[in-house]
Amino acid sequence: MNFVGLFQALDTSQSTNAKRDALIEFIRHADVLESAIAVQALTGRLEKKRLKPSLLKYTANQAFVETPWLFEECYATVGDLSETLAILFANPQAKPQTNAPILQQWIERQTTLAGLKPEVLADALLAQIQEFSKDEAFLFLKLSSGGFRVGVSKGLVHEAIARAIDMDRAVIEERLMGPFVADRNWLQRLQEPVTQNELDARPLPFLLANPITDEEIAALNPQDTLVEYKWDGIRAQLIKTDQTIRLWSRGDQDITEQFPDIVDSAVTLPSPIILDGEILAGTPCQLQSFHQLQTRLNRKRITQSLLNTHPAFFKAYDLLRFQGEDMRDQPLAARKAVLETITIQQSPVLRPQRIAEIAAMREAARDLGAEGVMIKDRQSTYGAGRKAGYWWKWKLDPMTADCVLIYAQAGHGRRANLHSDYTLACWNNQDELVPVAKAYSGLTDVELKAMDQWIRKHTIQKFGPVRQVEPLQVFEIGFEGIAASTRHKSGIALRFPRILRWRQDVGPKDADGLAHFHALMTNHHAL
């Protein structure tokens, strides 16, 4: 089997088990260089953008030189640039080759293409696409332009590799850290004997919190709990061994390289140690918004100037390993006691006597830039996953507003051809609707489908893929923060807006005005 065959197997199976089995099968039997490059491609390790999306677009425009709008219509319907080109230009008679290895050859061809002069590049690329079947063309373009996704996570690929060669999953994760060399020995290297350092540097499964219900709050004995703020950052484990310092996010990602400042400050920690906590933007004295952390995560290279403008630090709230000892079986109170002897930024702890104290702390959260509070059972051990009765989160209620749908656009991927991206507006003082938020989710599939039909029938105007609709539908949106903005026509920017409810019970005249947002901004400390 080659990569095209693997793709077809992954793309046509929807259960995770079936996908994992297809991956295991492929890793065991495919040409070893083919599987090496395939692993790079499936886990986002392939050097991105040998051919830029703008080049794919240019190629399409050359082919549709008389009717560029027609290409735009096609693209809007398909929702994916590579797929659009593949459908339009691949050879419909060609049968995909699904056995002999192709990836090495493809990468070379892409590199050759990328080196061509712009005048000839578009023609050469088009000629290349026309040789392929639809699936081959799609994969070739997808691989060359980055953003390749086929519904398998990095974790699933790593798990399949571990199973295919019968190795411990965590060790494989550890060995797949850092640069991945796609050569004929990649599988062999993964099977070498395990070292102590590798064992110590493994992140442990995170304990996750459940949202608390009103009944659970009523049933709570406050004296059994510890309460902390729920920080709005990146949940992470900070790991130090005798040889290495690592930061792991909950998404199974090594994010060490993104936070050299945190690594620097961890040098003085005792080792080996594993701390659980939150990466936060700003400094302990002055928190910045979560948005600032995104910038750190998205940059390939972290420069000194970025460290100055976007500082970050680690706030610890749990201790999982200490001086070679696994702390997870000890109760939270005991872990906290040891943690407090270690010099590192820590989350303040409330040992409440009454529920009212917890509620008061939650009320104070917004002003501190926290999202609410965490309530933790003092006797709880550190289990893996979402354990009932260990940790609860009690979040602040989101701020809300009723807004009118004015534009809709088709989504991408699974939502291609379905109008799922909404622009919502509120009334200004001149009785005009001004956009305040773009929201992508929050409706059920049934509601989305019904709205899609409605949107198609109530379109006033089309601007490429965007439809302006009659301003009739009202949605309640929720958001976590609000700030003044000079970039938006409405003068405000909302943080994490999403649709809470389809207000079929009210009309557009009942939607909120800008005054409502200004009141929220004054009442709440804007982040």
């Binding site: 929807q14 009717t67 027609l70 096609c74 319907t77 419909p92 991927g413 051809n417």
Partner: protein, 340 residues
């Protein structure tokens, strides 16, 4: 100089609340409300509705119409034969969409109008092939009027279908092909029959229509109606309408593997959103090239597009083929996502 449009100042067909209407013939075409005289292009639900007094359709289509509408006053007409209402000569011409589907030609001696209904240009063993009808004004569908819609050959699709079918039977899963029960199901069965001695099990909705097709002499592959006694994995392909996905009908064949045969399957995101594992691109509508070819062969100087990607088709005709084209909103094809 006389502009193109002025020749048809008095239109032969207009839109009324009941649907497309020819005042001179006092006849509606595929009306969506009850009327006195209904000219029907084909039996799909968005084109053939019950309650009208008189129905006219192409010979070969009356069986399906009866099946769909119950006992009605239906007059079938052989393809190409004309009859007169008012001063208008009316005739039915093959549309190649499903059994008995027709384009409707209206001629008042002054101008000729053709309403295509739904149609396709690809070969289909279950119905007579589309015939181009020269006219002054063409009223066409535009379901798949985008260049991304170009249909692969049936040979290629059937190879894929058989490989997929065998693969899942080998892995102890029942292959289930979801497709529209009127037309698509029988077309797939006729294609299976032409290429193999395979047999299928069908949902009740498909079985009823299969009988009508067989009465008209259409050669389908061996089939039986899926019954309560069918339990466990079937090595026969199961053919059922898309509505059965997630219903108890499929439980008896568990574990199942779902595929869909539809023109919409051309786009990966559409297939994935429908939670369909495998898509086969088979449509009973014209693809982009088929639509353009049809407009050109009709020699019409004015085109109206009724449903689907009407904006795209009319803009393309106006701007690039220099053919006057406008949109004509109708209630056809409103069940978007189901390829009828």
């Amino acid at each position: 100089m006389v502009s193109k449009k002025s020749r048809h100042r008095d239109p032969l067909v207009i839109r009324t609340p009941e649907g497309l209407y020819c005042p001179k013939a006092q006849a509606h075409i595929d009306p969506w409300r009850p009327v006195d005289c209904a000219l029907i292009t084909h039996a799909h639900a968005d084109h053939a509705r019950a309650g009208s007094k008189d129905y006219h359709c192409a010979l070969g289509g009356e069986g399906l119409l009866k099946q769909r509408l119950g006992d009605q006053q239906i007059t079938p007409h052989a393809y190409g034969d004309s009859f007169t209402r008012g001063d208008v000569q009316i005739s039915f011409h093959p549309a190649g969409h499903v059994l008995g589907s027709a384009q409707i030609r209206l001629d008042d001696g002054d101008s000729v109008w053709v309403i295509t209904g739904d149609y396709k240009r690809d070969p289909d063993p279950t119905c007579k092939a589309f015939e181009p009808v020269p006219c002054d004004v063409l009223i066409t569908e535009a379901t798949f009027a985008l260049p991304i819609y170009r249909w692969p050959s049936m040979d290629q699709t059937m190879d894929q279908l058989f490989a997929w079918w065998d693969h899942h039977v080998r892995h102890q899963r029942t292959p289930v092909l979801l497709c529209y029960s009127l037309g698509k199901a029988q077309r797939m069965m006729a294609e299976i029959q032409r290429r193999s001695d395979r047999s299928v099990k069908v949902h009740g909705a498909v079985a009823t229509l299969n009988r009508v097709y067989e009465q008209q002499g259409i050669d389908l592959c061996p089939w039986e109606r899926a019954s309560e006694t069918n339990q466990g994995v079937s090595s026969d392909l199961v053919i059922a309408p898309p509505q059965v996905a997630g219903s108890s009908f499929l439980k008896r064949f568990h574990p199942t593997e779902l595929a869909m045969a539809s023109g919409w399957m051309q786009v990966r995101g559409v297939r994935r959103r429908a939670s369909i594992h495998q898509g086969f691109v088979v449509s009973d509508h014209a693809d982009w090239n088929g639509l353009i070819q049809t407009v050109q062969e009709s020699q019409a100087t004015q085109v109206y597009a009724t449903h689907g990607e009407t904006r795209v088709l009319t803009r393309y005709l106006n701007e690039h083929l220099d053919i006057a084209a406008d949109r004509l909103e109708t209630a056809f094809g409103i069940e978007e996502g189901v390829d009828q």
